[in-house]
Each structure stands twice: as structure tokens, then as C-alpha cells.
């Protein structure tokens, strides 16, 4: 490019060629990123746009949409239109399901963290040769479908299931404890489904932990509890953040588990949204509900990341 500045009126051939080469390089780079952009566009942005558009349309009587602008879907989220006088009445039904789902997701995340941390620590402190075997054990459940595993839980906790039969047989109880189709069943199913998603990022974080730092902390009069809170947990924060996100977000939108273990009685957001596209025949409402969930997650994420990052600089 320097040759070009020497004769500004008539750029030399070399400079011209160089400029062309730079342009061609940029074009090639854009071309190379095209597949990724296409995938994101077709499978990410486009569906989201469709959902967004649909949420502002009116529902057709037998599913689908009518091409007419309407904010009914969003109004329906919080209000119910009276059949006779068309007035809006506040109905917190959907809101309650959302709050319930948040509660489920939060409890799942907390319990997964409490169970997952010692598990991951145990794995990370095994001899290196053993560790991969432990990781393998953690990933084994992924080899079979979640639906199958959820059904298996159903057979374990139902009234004539493994647990109740065993307790009855031992004479601990007289009549079966109802566990299936309860909040407990949903919570159990969620915990079971998402625990590995907590353990694996925690493990990868703890595995990189320099255990000499723990010795140093002991040496500097830290008790075991202090070592845990002042050294191990701060240093494994990236893993804790990743694990919590990986559990919380999918748990919030869980569909199969609450559907099967909750028996359709105890709804979660995922089931609610699915209902609008099925028996509810209100596509715009389903779209609106999906978008509201997304917005809520984004807001929660924003605060979570802002409160947890920046405090730890992993060096």
C-alpha cells in the first residue's frame, strides 16, 4: 500500500493488485463464515421471527393463525376476556405456572449444585487414570433416551412400583405412598435428568484446580471449611456458573419430565406452550408464551452473570 501513496494520481500496478488481494481475502473470509451464518439464520433467527410474527396474529378457530394484527395473545397471558361483556379480567393462572416453573428450576439448580459439587470434587481428586472412567459413568445415562428413563422413574415411584412394593413388603408402610403425579415426582425427574449437566462443567473446572493452592491455604491456618469457601469455591466459579446455566435454562423449559411424571396435572411452562399448539388451538398464545419465557430467562441471565462475573479472574 505504501507504493500507492507515492503516486496518488496513478496507483501503481502492485498497489492495485495488493488492494484487490485484500478485498478478495475479505470476500473469501465472508464466504467461509457463510455456512455458519446460514445455519444460525435458518435454524435460529428465522424460527424466532416466525414465532414473533405469529404472536401478534389472531388465532384461527381450528389451529393456525388468521393474518390479522392482534395483541390478544399477550392480553390473554394475563387477562381473560369475559364472554358476555368483553371486559378484561385478571387471571393469574399462566403467571402461576410460570412462577411454579421458575421455582422448580431454581430448586433443581440448587440441589444439583449441592449434589454435583461433592461428586465433581470426588472425581477430580481421583488418580488421573481413574478420572475418565468416572466421567464415563456420569455420561452413561445419555446413552438411552430421556423419555425411556423418565418412564423408568415412573415405574419405580408409582403406587405398585419398586419403592412402594419394597416398603410394603418390609412392613414399613400399610398403604402405598403416592409419589407419581406429584410435585415431588416432577422435582425428582428434573434432578435426575439434569444432574450430569451440573457435574460435568464442575468437574472440568475442579480438575484444573491447582491443589497446591489448597495446601497453601491449610499452611496459612485455613480450616477445611475456610479452604472450601475461600479457595476451592472461588476458583471453581467458572464451572459453577456454567453448570447452573446448563441446568437452570433447560429445567425451566422442561417438557417431557413434567408431562409424564406430573401426569398433566402439574403443568410447567413447556407443557403449557405445547398445549396451545395442540388441544388449546391457540398458536399466537403459544408463541407469546414462548417469547415471554425467553425474555424472562434473558433478564435473569443478565442479572446472574452481572452479579457473578468480574469478581473472579481466573489466572
Amino acid at each position: 500500500m505504501t507504493t500507492a501513496t507515492l503516486s496518488p494520481t496513478m496507483p501503481s500496478k502492485a498497489a492495485l493488485f495488493e488492494a484487490q488481494a485484500v478485498k478478495a481475502g475479505a470476500r473469501r473470509n465472508r464466504l467461509l463464515s457463510l455456512p455458519a451464518l446460514l445455519i444460525i439464520g435458518i435454524f435460529g433467527v428465522l424460527p424466532l421471527l416466525i414465532i414473533c410474527v405469529y404472536s401478534f396474529l389472531a388465532a384461527a378457530p381450528y389451529g393456525g393463525v388468521q393474518w390479522r394484527f392482534s395483541t390478544d395473545a399477550y392480553l390473554n397471558f394475563l387477562f381473560q376476556r369475559d364472554i358476555f361483556d368483553d371486559t378484561l379480567q385478571f387471571t393469574p393462572d399462566f403467571l402461576i405456572i410460570y412462577l411454579r416453573s421458575f421455582l422448580f428450576a431454581v430448586v433443581t439448580t440448587i440441589i444439583c449444585l449441592l449434589l454435583g459439587f461433592p461428586t465433581a470434587y470426588f472425581m477430580a481428586t481421583r488418580p488421573p487414570a481413574q478420572r475418565n472412567w468416572w466421567v464415563l459413568l456420569i455420561t452413561i445415562p445419555f446413552w438411552s433416551n430421556l423419555l425411556v428413563r423418565t418412564l423408568a422413574i415412573m415405574f419405580i415411584i408409582r403406587d405398585e412400583g419398586l419403592i412402594n412394593n419394597a416398603l410394603l413388603g418390609l412392613g414399613v408402610i400399610d398403604k402405598p405412598i403416592t409419589m407419581l403425579y406429584t410435585n415431588f415426582a416432577i422435582q425428582l425427574g428434573l434432578l435426575y435428568a439434569f444432574l450430569p449437566f451440573m457435574v460435568l462443567p464442575l468437574y472440568s473446572s475442579l480438575e484444573k484446580l491447582d491443589f497446591r493452592l489448597i495446601e497453601a491455604a491449610y499452611d496459612l491456618y485455613a480450616t477445611r471449611r475456610q479452604v472450601l469457601w475461600r479457595v476451592i469455591i472461588p476458583l471453581s466459579k467458572p464451572g459453577i456458573i456454567a453448570g447452573c446455566l446448563l441446568v437452570f435454562i433447560p429445567a425451566l423449559g422442561a417438557y417431557v419430565t413434567p408431562l409424564i411424571l406430573g401426569g398433566g396435572v402439574h403443568l410447567m411452562i413447556g407443557d403449557l406452550i405445547a398445549q396451545q399448539f395442540g388441544s388449546g388451538r391457540n398458536w399466537p398464545l403459544g408463541c407469546a408464551q414462548a417469547l415471554i419465557l425467553m425474555a424472562a430467562v434473558l433478564v435473569a441471565l443478565f442479572f446472574y452473570v452481572r452479579n457473578t462475573s468480574g469478581k473472579v479472574q481466573h489466572g
Binding site: 470434587y121 481428586t125 495446601e215 479452604v227 475461600r230
Partner: protein, 406 residues
């Protein structure tokens, strides 16, 4: 929480044992003798700070058992710069870790000012460590790292701040106190590690090859710095190294270790001039070994005859009775060449001359076939020049030859 911390970190297994001293809460240091301007005054100089009594450490079980320490006993005096010197795998770091509390001895006692600390977990010992890798906390600033020990001891905030400021000044790191430990150089990390270990005013400071990661120039600087710190704080330093030069220049006393045993303890001069065993003589400095036969002996001095029938008076280690065939050691600089072979204690042919600037090494092939190196310090008025192939005599300085135990 207990399950989260197991095995890997020599977890303290005996939390119910009484803590060091008479404290009830467990983590407090015993009362110190006193502090003058931050300089700690040892209670009774000349007493032993650490006494290691018959300590064994065995790793592994059954047939894979390895004795990392084989019944070691040593006393380390108060206010002393004591060095554990030996090649890697000799057990010096194991001994240090036993004193720090990261491992527990298989047998024996470790006394700190007369109290057995061997069963105490590390956080109940008034002993701090400077780690080879520094092990600074990456999620804390320089100042937070230095204050960590005091914080864990539950000191009031004001006291911690004052002490941290004092330590920062001591290691000349005031300007970088707010930095993360990943944002400072290796030499600076070294200083922070030192300050962090010194801040709680330990009775004994353990240093595990702390200078090995530094480049040559920085290492020399830190050697002087360490000596200064030890002098200023008056704390007993136990320093582990495999670098004999480092050990000789810095230590008050050195323990030379090999294969899990302490071979010799003494001042640098003792160790260098009067090595007791072949390993010690060989490990520290350059050495000539000569074979001879004891012909007569007086207390402390034996007369040894070489194959060439020449005899030499040689000292021998205390408590050792030299008889028959023995090995003599002569340091290269404790001998000199003489042009006339007949005038030397022993004689040979000059096979090589290596010039080092400050001195010259003469390699002599003795008449018996062994090699002997003579180091001659160069001066402007070197009267004689030698040439390779010349027949020369080698004269020993008074007391240069020593009989070795093995």
C-alpha cells in the same frame, strides 16, 4: 462439606487432637516471645526450634513400599538458616512436608519448641511454607494474598492491614499491592510468596526450593534478599535445595541428604572441608578421591600410605575408626603442583590444562592410574608455567587430606 476435601491434600486426620499450645479455638498461634519494631525476638537463642526424632516416612503398601525417609533425626536451632541439601528423591522435600504437616510421619516425633507437632494438621502449626511453585491465590490481589494467613487466624482488620503494609515494605512490593498475582513477574511472585508466609510471624519458615524457578541473576539477588529477611525477622529458616552452591553461600548449617537419610550435618565449611562420606564429598564441589592404607593413627589423625609408598597425615570423622584400606579426599584447591615430581606427596603426568580465567585446572594422571585435579588460582606473577605431558609432583596443604567413612 467434609467429603469435599479428602485424601489428595493430606487432610488433617486428627482434628480432635489438642492444638499446639494451650489455645482452645485451635487456630491461634501460641503467644510469641515479643516483637520489637516488627522484628521478632526469639525466646531463648541457642535452643532448638525443631527437633526431628527418629522420623520414618513410608509411601505405598505391601511390596510397593518405599521409605522416603529412613529414621531421620536432626535438630534445628532457633534463628538458624538451616538447609536440607541433596539430589532429587533424597527425601528432603518429604521431611519439609512432614514439618509443615502436609504428610504425617510413619514413625517418630517432630518437636517444635519441645512439643510434638507431628499429629497436628497444618493449620494448627505455627509454621509457614514458601512453595516451589509459590502457590499464590490467583483470585486475590497481592495484598489479599499476604493478609490471608492473618485473616484465617481471625486477627482484627486494622492489625491485618498494618501487618500487610509492613510486609509489603519488607519485600519492597508496596507499589504492586493491588495487582493480581497473575499480573506480576516470577521474581515478584517469589517476594509475595515470602511475604505471605512471613506475615503470620511463624516460628519456623519452610522454603521448598523457592529459587529454582528464577533465572540466574534474579536467583543471586533473592539469595541475598533471603539472608536479609532471615536476619531482619529472626525466624528460623529451613531451606530445601539441590543446589550446593546455594546451600554453601546461604546456610548457617547444612544437612546433606541421600536416599532418605541424613549423611552429615554441619556448617558449610565443615561440610566442604571435612566431608564424612564419599557422597557428601562428591555432591558438594569438585573432589579428588585417593585410595590408601592406614598404617598408624593418633587421635583425629591417621597416617595413610599410598601405593607409591608415600605417606600423608589425614584427619578422619569423629567417632570413626579408620583401619586398612580407606578412601582419602582432597579438594582440588587444597593441593598445588610442584615441578619436581620427587618433591610432591604424590606424582604423575600432566594430562590436561584447563584455563578458567580466575583459576586454572591441572588434570594429572597419577602414577597409580587415577586422575587428580589441582586448582590453581591465577595471579599476575605465576612463577612456573606447566605444559601437558610434563612429569609433576602434587603437594597437599596441611590437613588437606581427609579419610572418608566409606
Amino acid at each position: 462439606m467434609g467429603i469435599a476435601l479428602k485424601k489428595r491434600v493430606a487432610a488433617p486426620q486428627l482434628p480432635s487432637r489438642p492444638a499446639y499450645g494451650d489455645n482452645q479455638t485451635g487456630t491461634h498461634l501460641p503467644p510469641r516471645a515479643g516483637s520489637l519494631n516488627g522484628v521478632i525476638v526469639p525466646e531463648q537463642p541457642g535452643k532448638n526450634a525443631i527437633e526431628v526424632r527418629g522420623v520414618r516416612k513410608v509411601f505405598g503398601t505391601g511390596e510397593n513400599q518405599v521409605a522416603a525417609l529412613d529414621t531421620v533425626s536432626v535438630s534445628i536451632r532457633e534463628n538458624e538458616f538451616f538447609t536440607l541439601l541433596g539430589p532429587s528423591g533424597c527425601g528432603k522435600t518429604t521431611l519439609l512436608r512432614l514439618i509443615a504437616g502436609f504428610d504425617f510421619p510413619s514413625a517418630g516425633e517432630i518437636m517444635l519448641h519441645g512439643q510434638d507437632i507431628a499429629p497436628l494438621p497444618p493449620f494448627k502449626r505455627p509454621v509457614n511454607t514458601v512453595f516451589q511453585s509459590y502457590a499464590l491465590f490467583p483470585h486475590m490481589t497481592v495484598a489479599q494474598n499476604i493478609g490471608f494467613g492473618l485473616e484465617m487466624l481471625g486477627k482484627p482488620k486494622g492489625e491485618i492491614e498494618a501487618r500487610v503494609a509492613q510486609m509489603l515494605k519488607l519485600v519492597k512490593m508496596e507499589a504492586l499491592k493491588a495487582r493480581r498475582t497473575s499480573q506480576i513477574s516470577g521474581g515478584q511472585q517469589q517476594r509475595v510468596a515470602l511475604a505471605r508466609a512471613l506475615a503470620p510471624q511463624p516460628k519456623v519458615l519452610l522454603l521448598d526450593e523457592p529459587l529454582s524457578a528464577l533465572d540466574y541473576k534474579l536467583r543471586k539477588e533473592m539469595q541475598i534478599e533471603l539472608k536479609r529477611l532471615q536476619h531482619e525477622t529472626g525466624i528460623t529458616f529451613i531451606f530445601v535445595t539441590h543446589d550446593q552452591e546455594e546451600a554453601l553461600t546461604m546456610s548457617d548449617r547444612i544437612a546433606v541428604m541421600s536416599a532418605g537419610k541424613i549423611l552429615q550435618v554441619g556448617t558449610p565449611r565443615d561440610i566442604y572441608d571435612r566431608p564424612a562420606e564419599r557422597f557428601v564429598a562428591d555432591f558438594i564441589g569438585e573432589t579428588n578421591f585417593l585410595a590408601g592404607t592406614v598404617v598408624s593413627k593418633k587421635p583425629g589423625v591417621a597416617t595413610v600410605k599410598f601405593d607409591s609408598n608415600a605417606t600423608v597425615a589425614a584427619g578422619y570423622p569423629e567417632g570413626f575408626d579408620p583401619t586398612g584400606e580407606v578412601t582419602l579426599v582432597v579438594r582440588p584447591e587444597h593441593a598445588d603442583l610442584v615441578p619436581d615430581p620427587a618433591k610432591g606427596t604424590i606424582a604423575g603426568t600432566l594430562s590436561n590444562i584447563v584455563y578458567f580465567g580466575t583459576d586454572t585446572h591441572y588434570h594429572v594422571r597419577l602414577d597409580g592410574g587415577e586422575n587428580f585435579i589441582v586448582r590453581h588460582q591465577n595471579s599476575r606473577s605465576s612463577p612456573v608455567t606447566y605444559e601437558t605431558g610434563a612429569e609433576v609432583g602434587i603437594q597437599f596443604e596441611e590437613g588437606a587430606a581427609r579419610v572418608l567413612k566409606d
